[in-house]
C-alpha cells in the first residue's frame, strides 16, 4: 500500500443542474482533511463518488488502493461512513444494529463499542426511533468507529446537533485522531468543527475545488489589514488582495498572500497600519468563495 489513502484525478459528474467539475484530490494516510463547502457545493456528491455509491462520468478514484466504484465492496470493508442524511432502522434497537454490523466486519471491536455506549450515554436495548437526533448521530458514529476503519468519512456529522452532543462527538473524534494510521475526511459547512480537528483543508464551491492545502499554511497566508490612509497618501499595489472593504480613508484589505513586508510598504507610502488580523477558517472560506464568485459569476 502506498502512502495515499484516497486519490481522485479529474473526476467529473454532471447532473441536470449541477456539475462536479474536474475534482483532483490526494489524501495521504493518517491525514485529516476538512472538506468545506456551502450547501450544494458538491461535498456530498464527491463523498458518494468516493464511497462508490455514485459513478463518476470521467476521471479515476482510488480508495485504499481500490478502484472505485468497481472495487467498492473491498474498499468499504475498511471505511467507516457517517452522513448527516443517514438513518438507522427505527424499529430495531441499537444492540441489534451493533450485532448486525459486527457480523459483517471481522475487525469489530466489541470492548470499544461498549466503551462508546457508556461515553455517549446510549442504551443498547432502546429502539432507534426513541432516540433524539443527537443520540442517533452518536449511535451511527459508534457503529462506524467500533469497526476500526482505516478511513473514516464523515459527511456533515455534526449538523443539527445541540452544543453538548456536538462537543461529545468532536471529543470522540479527537480521541480517534490519536491513531496516526487512520485517515479522516470530515465534511462540513461548520468551519469551527473542521478547524478543530483537521490538518488539511479543502474548499469546494460550485462543484470545483478552490483550495487544498495544510491548515496552518492556509491560516498563515490569509490576513486582514486595517489601514488609515491620509488624503495625500497613495497605496501601492499589494500582492494577493482579494477584497477591499471599509472606506477610502479606512480601508480593510483581505489578502491571501500575506507578507510582513506589506506593513512597512504601506507605512512607507504614508499609511498607518492599525492592525493585521488573523482570520478564522470561516472568514477565509467566505472571502475565498466571494472573490472567486466575483471573478466567475454563475
Amino acid at each position: 500500500m502506498n502512502d495515499v489513502c484516497v486519490r481522485l484525478e479529474g473526476v467529473s459528474k454532471r447532473y441536470p443542474h449541477f456539475l462536479l467539475d474536474n475534482i483532483s484530490l490526494d489524501l495521504p494516510v493518517g491525514s485529516i482533511l476538512g472538506f468545506i463547502g456551502a450547501n450544494g457545493a458538491g461535498k456530498s456528491t464527491t463523498i458518494r463518488i468516493l464511497m462508490g455509491l455514485v459513478r463518476q462520468d470521467s476521471g479515476s478514484v482510488q480508495v485504499l488502493g481500490h478502484a472505485m466504484p468497481a472495487e467498492q465492496t473491498a474498499a468499504k470493508l475498511d471505511i467507516g461512513y457517517v452522513s448527516e442524511d443517514m438513518r438507522l432502522y427505527g424499529a430495531a434497537t441499537l444492540a441489534w444494529h451493533m450485532n448486525f454490523v459486527a457480523s459483517i466486519y471481522p475487525q469489530w471491536n466489541q470492548s470499544y463499542a461498549d466503551t462508546l455506549v457508556r461515553r455517549f450515554d446510549l442504551k443498547p436495548q432502546q429502539k432507534i426511533k426513541g432516540l433524539s437526533h443527537g443520540q442517533r448521530v452518536k449511535a451511527a458514529l459508534l457503529l462506524a468507529l467500533a469497526r476500526e476503519p482505516r478511513l473514516l468519512i464523515l459527511d456533515e456529522p455534526t449538523t443539527g446537533l445541540d452544543p453538548v452532543a456536538r462537543r461529545e462527538v468532536l471529543a470522540e473524534l479527537m480521541a480517534v485522531l490519536a491513531d496516526e494510521h487512520r485517515t479522516i475526511l470530515f465534511s462540513s459547512h461548520n468551519t469551527l468543527d473542521v478547524e478543530q480537528i483537521s490538518d488539511r483543508i479543502a474548499f469546494i464551491d460550485r462543484g470545483r475545488i478552490i483550495a487544498l492545502e495544510e491548515k496552518e499554511d492556509l491560516l498563515d497566508r490569509w490576513r486582514r489589514v486595517r489601514l488609515v490612509v491620509p488624503p495625500t497618501a497613495v497605496l501601492p499595489q499589494l500582492p494577493g488582495i482579494v477584497e477591499v472593504g471599509g472606506t477610502e480613508r479606512l480601508p480593510v484589505l483581505t489578502t491571501n498572500r500575506f507578507d510582513p513586508a506589506v506593513v512597512s510598504l504601506c507605512q512607507d507610502r504614508g499609511a498607518t497600519v492599525q492592525s493585521v488580523d488573523s482570520m478564522t477558517l470561516e472568514e477565509i472560506f467566505v472571502a475565498n468563495v466571494q472573490s472567486r464568485r466575483e471573478l466567475q459569476p454563475a
Binding site: 455509491l53 459513478r55 468497481a70 472495487e71 465492496t73 473491498a74 468499504k76 470493508l77
Partner: protein
C-alpha cells in the same frame, strides 16, 4: 458497477435483516389468510368467491406492503445510506431485495395456497377448481414479482402504487379471462381434476413471466450509476 464476486453471506445477512424488520406483518398475514379460507368451508359458491377475493387481498396486500417496507421506505427513511455504506455491491443489494421479498412473501403464499388446495382436495369439494386455483395463486406470485421489480427499480412510492393498481387490475382481468378460457372453464366446477394442456401452458407461462421480470430487474439495476 462492481467487479467483485457476489458475497452470498452478505446477501443472506441482508435477507435476514428484512425478515427481522418485517416479521410481524408476515406472521400476522398467515392467520388472516387462513381465516379467509375457512369461509370456503361453508360450501356455497358465493362463499367461495368471497373467500377468493379476501385471499387475493391478503396475498397482494402482503406482497405490496413488503415491497413498500423493504424498498421504498429504505430510501424514504434514509436507511439506504446506512446499508450502502456497508461492504455491499449493487448486485448483492438487488439479489437480497428480490430474495428477501420473494422468500418472505412465499411464507404466507405457500401457507394460503396449500390451504386453498387442501380444502379443494377434501371429499365432496369441487375438485375441478384446483387447476384454476393454482393458476390464480401463481398469477399472484407473478403480480408480486412485478411489484417487487417496481419497488427495487424505481424506489418510488408513486411508481409502486401504479404497479400495485395495474397488478390488481391485471389479476382481475386475467382471472376473468382464465375462468372463461376454453381449456379451463368447462372443467372448473366438476368433481374431478383436469390438468388440460391450456392450464399447464398458462402455469408455465406464469413461471416464465416471473423469471423474466426478476431478470429484467437485475438488468436494469446493473445499468444504474447512482445508488444514493
Amino acid at each position: 458497477m462492481n467487479s467483485s464476486p457476489t458475497n452470498y453471506a452478505m446477501v443472506r445477512r441482508l435477507i435476514l435483516k428484512d425478515w427481522y424488520l418485517n416479521r410481524w406483518m408476515i406472521i400476522g398475514s398467515v392467520p388472516a389468510g387462513l381465516a379467509s379460507l375457512a369461509i370456503i368451508l361453508t360450501g356455497k359458491q358465493v362463499a367461495f368467491l368471497i373467500s377468493i377475493i379476501l385471499l387475493c387481498m391478503v396475498i397482494i396486500g402482503v406482497g405490496a406492503q413488503l415491497a413498500m417496507a423493504t424498498t421504498i421506505n429504505e430510501r424514504k427513511e434514509q436507511t439506504l445510506a446506512f446499508i450502502m455504506s456497508l461492504p455491499v455491491s449493487w448486485r448483492e443489494y438487488t439479489a437480497a431485495k428480490i430474495l428477501a421479498n420473494l422468500i418472505i412473501f412465499l411464507i404466507p403464499w405457500l401457507a394460503i395456497t396449500a390451504g386453498a388446495l387442501g380444502i379443494l382436495l377434501l371429499p365432496g369439494a369441487t375438485h375441478g377448481l384446483i387447476p384454476f386455483t393454482a393458476i390464480m395463486a401463481v398469477e399472484m406470485l407473478v403480480t408480486t414479482c412485478l411489484i417487487i421489480a417496481a419497488g427495487v427499480i424505481t424506489e418510488s412510492q408513486a411508481w409502486l402504487t401504479v404497479a400495485i393498481l395495474c397488478s390488481s387490475l391485471g389479476l382481475n382481468v386475467l382471472g376473468y379471462v382464465f375462468a372463461h378460457t376454453h381449456g379451463i372453464s368447462p372443467q372448473m366446477w366438476g368433481t374431478s381434476v383436469h390438468w388440460t394442456a391450456t392450464a399447464c401452458t398458462i402455469l408455465l407461462a406464469e413461471f416464465l413471466a416471473a423469471a423474466l421480470v426478476l431478470a429484467f430487474t437485475f438488468f436494469v439495476q446493473s445499468r444504474k450509476t447512482d445508488f444514493l
